[in-house]
């Protein structure tokens, strides 16, 4: 089997391929469903109904897409500058912690001011937490993959400490913080749903990152450092400062995901505030080819699968873990599909 680049495909094929990928995924997921004795037709219909079928479900899918978009952007932006940030999870937690802290003790200010305060706190917390590995990378050449990864656990336990200590709800023995003040909560934008301000912020973030990447001096430098640090340095770009700023922004974006979960979903801090949004972010960024818009699409695609598959498992009585199985398959199939848009595969016996 050999693989060779192919001439660019026409636009409509480019569009069709992902659609095809989704169909293939459904086909493949038939195996585990039947294995578990589920009803295929019901599964497929409930999958789509669960994710997009009703107004509420569709909006729920958007709700799920918001944090995924933030972490996806965080990773995409970092990876572009070859800062291998596997730590979006920890940065998300940092953001959540800061947002909670501000949200609990918010000063008496107009709501807008408080919200800005909450977001800034979360953004900075995530960003600063990400600059730790960035500094270790630039100062001591410590591999960023490991440090970002390990610091996720560190932050998780720091959160654990806070939730059993300073941040614990007074009359509770559980690892939970007090609820944040009304004034610090994201407004719900559509009645009878959880469609909140954070979703709009996520969309805004997509545009901002796209703008930074393609229009600003910093974006140019980040790209230069990303494709060839040595050449960038030769050209007079301060590689270290670019990496650190990248980390700050990347971590900040991840932090915003945490802010959203606190200020719009849970209204308080708890240990499992993130079902691995940070790690999914890596997958999503890669699916989106590290491009902001692609990342947003990937995030939505992913939440459709998550939300849909979960509801499907309930309606068909298939163990809920099928959701992750389908996610995994969807990811891999989509990846192969995207490959086929660029390459053609020739079967050749060695």
């Amino acid at each position: 089997m050999i693989i060779t680049k192919r001439a660019p495909l026409p636009g409509w094929v480019q569009v069709l391929v992902p659609v095809g990928a989704i169909l293939v995924t459904l086909l493949l997921s038939a195996a585990p469903i039947l294995f578990a004795g589920g009803d295929l037709w019901l599964s497929y219909t409930s999958l789509f109904k669960g994710a997009l079928g009703t107004r509420y479900n569709f909006l729920e899918t958007c709700v799920k897409a918001a944090p995924l978009t933030f972490t996806g952007l965080a990773v995409a932006f970092a990876f572009r500058a070859k800062f291998w940030n596997i730590g979006a999870e920890g940065q998300l937690l940092a953001g959540a912690i800061a947002a909670t802290w501000v949200g609990i003790s918010a000063p008496a200010l107009p709501k807008v001011a408080v919200l800005i305060l909450v977001c800034t706190a979360g953004f900075l917390a995530g960003g600063l937490w990400a600059t730790v590995p960035a500094l270790l990378k630039t100062k001591y050449r410590v591999d960023d993959v490991v440090t970002t990864l390990l610091l996720n656990y560190v932050m998780w336990h720091i959160m654990g400490y806070l939730l059993f200590g300073p941040l614990q709800m007074p009359n509770s023995s559980w690892p939970r913080s007090p609820a944040i003040l009304e004034i610090a909560r994201f407004p719900v934008l559509l009645a009878r749903s959880r469609f909140h301000l954070g979703i709009v912020l996520a969309v805004a973030a997509v545009l901002i990152v796209w703008f930074i990447n393609s229009k600003t001096v910093f974006g140019y430098r980040a790209r230069a450092v990303g494709v060839n640090p040595r050449a960038a340095a030769f050209g007079g770009i301060n590689v270290n400062s670019v990496i650190i700023r990248t980390a700050l922004l990347s971590g900040g974006l991840a932090g915003m995901a945490g802010v959203g979960e606190v200020a719009a979903i849970h209204f308080h801090l708890l240990m499992d505030i993130s079902p691995g949004f940070g790690y999914s972010g890596i997958v999503i960024a890669m699916l989106g080819r590290l491009h902001p818009l692609g990342t947003a699409l990937a995030a939505f695609f992913f939440s459709v699968i998550i939300v849909g598959a979960q509801s499907m498992s309930r309606l068909t009585g298939v163990p809920t873990y099928i959701a992750e199985v389908i996610q995994g398959m969807a990811l891999i199939v989509m990846l192969i599909a995207l490959l086929l848009t660029e390459y053609r595969i020739k079967a050749v016996k060695d």
């Binding site: 050999i2 410590v142 591999d143 490991v146 890669m286 873990y321 992750e324 199985v325 995994g328 595969i345």
Partner: protein, 314 residues
């Protein structure tokens, strides 16, 4: 405090270090094998979980522990072969392929487990490996009970360290593997089948990861529960880099980590009035600190993360 320096405490601590380190050593060695051939296998976390699950169910149904270990190794290898298909033959991003496999296998492991055991009052258990004392050596005070009264798989792990080292540095295959990992083009132009080498290394590594998972459900424990791997795969990845892609150093890292983990549990037992979460983060923090000290000479295989396509230019 004086309790810290008693013989039993130290012996127990060292023995615990060995047990805690073993699954991580399996994972680390498996990952080193893959990465030395130029493939980062982020599927490790999921592969270890599948190994833990398959090993457990096999033993549960057949009653044979060794069949369980074999099954775990087999499943690990198969998942790694799938990784090879994606990352080596198709040349897909190693990051995503690996994470995809972890996602997929994590779900699959629980899915299969639930289907096969349903929801009993108590989770099913197997009669696990018992510790086997090495004649004579196990007599030595402290050392004996700590290092030479262990599960067979622990001995395996520690024998695998020199074995992998010899494979990498003293055999023609090892030289081929290292060359493939450093510069696939160089390997190809001397007639080495780059993709085949990478595939075999992934498969071998996957088998080790699977066994590492099985250790948790067949030796250290006697039941399978969700999260039983609990991030040990990710830690292995960290140890590979900590160990600078060298089997001995990687295993040393795993031991240090196991030591700290065992220590923090014991310190809790001694009843210092420190929030236990601060104990729990010691191993991770220490590893980061340790990394700073070793980082300067860190040198990843030059071909890591790069898919090899012959007619790709530039």
């Amino acid at each position: 405090m004086e309790q810290v320096f008693t013989i039993t405490f130290i012996t127990g601590l060292l023995a615990a270090m060995m047990r805690m380190a073993t699954p991580i050593i399996f994972g680390t060695l498996g990952e080193i094998l893959s990465e030395r051939a130029g493939v980062l296998n982020l599927g490790i976390e999921g592969i270890m979980l599948m190994g833990a699950m398959t090993g457990f169910l096999t033993t549960l149904t057949t009653g044979s522990l060794w069949l369980g270990v074999a099954a775990a190794a087999l499943v690990g290898a198969l998942l790694a072969l799938f990784m090879a298909f994606l990352a080596v033959y198709l040349g897909l991003s190693q990051h995503v392929s690996g994470l995809g496999i972890t996602l997929f296998s994590t779900g699959l492991a629980m899915f299969i487990y639930r289907l096969s055991v349903g929801s009993p009052v108590n989770p099913p258990t197997v009669r696990p490996f018992t510790q086997a004392a090495v004649p004579f050596l196990s007599e030595i005070p402290v050392i004996g009970p700590a290092f030479f009264t262990q599960y067979t798989l622990v001995y395996w792990a520690f024998l695998l360290i020199p074995a992998l080292w010899v494979l990498l540095y003293r055999t023609t295959w090892g030289l081929a593997i290292r060359t493939v990992g450093e510069n696939p083009l160089a390997a190809d132009t001397v007639g080495i089948n780059v993709n085949l080498v990478r595939t075999l290394c992934l498969a071998g590594g996957g088998a080790l990861m699977g066994i590492g998972g099985a250790f948790l459900t067949l030796a250290h424990q006697n039941m399978f529960l969700i999260d039983v791997v609990g991030g040990r795969g990710w830690i292995s990845i960290a140890m590979v880099i900590f160990g600078n892609w060298d089997p001995a150093r990687g295993a040393a890292g795993a031991l240090i980590f196991g030591f700290l983990d065992a220590l923090q549990l014991r310190l809790q037992g001694l009843g210092f009035d420190i929030p236990f979460h601060l104990f729990l983060l010691i191993p991770y923090l220490m590893t980061v600190v340790a990394l700073v000290s070793v980082s300067r000479r860190a040198a990843a295989p030059a071909g890591l993360l790069k898919p090899y396509r012959r007619e790709e230019k530039g």
